[in-house]
């Protein structure tokens, strides 16, 4: 089992890096140039004071882009994976928090965001569930990349490979 994993680990790492990095890059890219929307989306969670929420809304897309790029090219992948996992876990907590408080919003994960008409409450609750599961999955992806950050097509190479060459 371990042998099998060792054999495929470089490709697993590559796929997961592209997955987590790709999602972060797309999510950040869609929001970075719509600062109003992004700031409003964070404020709609009603967790932080409005001005701090706005500031996070302005900064978050750029953090997502930076982490996404690092994961895709495989530079400081371990560090990027840690930050990526943390970000995903924060999203999970935030979504569960609005869910528990009965607030109806669009998560604003890939742009958009803000309050949703009460008539769509069933769809919103379904979306909360899917978003929670998706972000948990991405957090697990990040965790794997923490343990195995080096794989194929990575700018950084681990110690053993260098010694083998």
């Amino acid at each position: 089992m371990r042998k099998l994993h060792n054999r495929f680990q470089p490709i697993i790492t590559l796929v997961l890096r592209l997955l987590l990095g790709g999602v972060l890059l797309v999510a950040g890219g869609l929001k970075a140039f719509k600062p109003d929307e992004s700031a409003g989306a964070v404020a709609a969670y009603k967790i932080l004071p409005t001005n701090i929420a706005h500031l996070i809304g302005y900064a978050l897309p750029w953090l997502e882009i930076a982490i996404g790029v690092l994961l895709i090219i495989g530079l400081s992948a371990r560090l990027a994976a840690v930050v990526g996992t943390a970000v995903m876990l924060i999203f999970v907590v935030a979504i569960i928090s609005v869910w528990a408080r009965g607030i109806l919003i669009d998560c604003g994960c890939f742009g958009g965001g803000g309050a949703v008409d009460p008539s769509k409450s069933a769809q919103v609750h379904r979306a909360y569930l899917l978003e929670t599961l998706r972000d948990l999955g991405l957090a697990i992806t990040g965790l794997y990349l923490y343990f195995f950050p080096y794989g194929l097509l990575s700018v950084e190479k681990p110690l053993q490979i260098i010694e083998e060459q």
Binding site: A39, G40, T50, N51, W62, L75, L79, P158, L159, I162
Partner: protein
């Protein structure tokens, strides 16, 4: 699960590279955030352009009565009543205003309807300053114009620092509200009692969101997801 070893010095995984990466990420995030803050501020200030050719209407006498929830009331005694519940910062209220605002203004000016504007303030402290200014404008007979102007310049973000007393006085200036009385009323937030009373009356009327409309005291349940003038005017005619 065994962790993979750290990268070697030659492979770009040393401490220097790590700090360089952290530095670059910080720089990107900070630059992006600053760029966003500046672009948002510029956009808010540019919104005053929308008021450049504002046509100031004739004054309309308005009253405020605790009996109907301290809303701003015009044409008391008209045959039909419209109660509008809205918050100056609520974006959907702006959509409502865009679709039906001109029609309602015509009804008011033609004295066809007794309209009660319940200016609420549940979206934060900038709603309070804006609602206060609306009550100040009502005192001067220019609530309709001021109300329209508020929505024309409404920023995309709630509580983003746009509805300051200073900016509200400026908005008043565009619609002919230049008296010292108005300026003092806005700056000193003199109508706080009425603003608070209007907000408190939401529970009494069972209003939980904005915009909410009552025709002759009966809740309007719109069928359309958005706001369509035809639906609104038909509902008013039928009421």
């Amino acid at each position: 699960m065994a962790k993979q070893a750290k990268a070697t010095k030659t492979s770009g995984g040393d401490n220097f590279t790590r700090w360089l990466v952290i530095g670059m990420v910080t720089l990107v995030v900070a630059t992006g955030a600053i760029f966003s803050v500046i672009s948002q501020k510029t956009k808010a200030n540019e919104s005053f352009v929308a008021l450049n050719n504002f046509k100031v209407g004739a004054p309309v006498t308005a009253s405020v009565d605790t009996a109907n929830g301290s809303g701003i009331t015009v044409n008391t005694g008209a045959a039909k009543t419209i109660d509008l519940w809205e918050d100056p910062q609520c974006p959907i209220c702006n959509t409502f205003e865009g679709a039906n605002g001109a029609y309602i203004e015509d009804l008011v000016r033609a004295k066809k309807a007794n309209v009660v504007y319940h200016v609420l303030s549940f979206l934060g402290k900038e709603s309070v300053t804006a609602a206060n200014a609306a009550y100040c404008a009502a005192d001067e007979g220019h609530f309709l114009d001021f109300h329209k102007a508020l929505y024309l310049v409404q920023p995309a973000l709630e509580n983003s620092g746009f509805y300051t007393t200073q900016n509200l006085v400026k908005i008043g200036g565009y619609v002919g509200l230049t008296s010292q009385k108005f300026v003092d009323c806005v700056t000193k937030v003199s109508k706080l009692d009425q603003v608070k009373a209007a907000y408190d009356s939401m529970a009494k009327y069972n209003v939980t969101g904005t915009p909410t409309v009552f025709f002759n005291g009966k809740l309007w349940e719109r069928k359309n997801g958005g706001f369509v003038l035809d639906e609104f005017s038909a509902a008013f005619e039928a009421s």
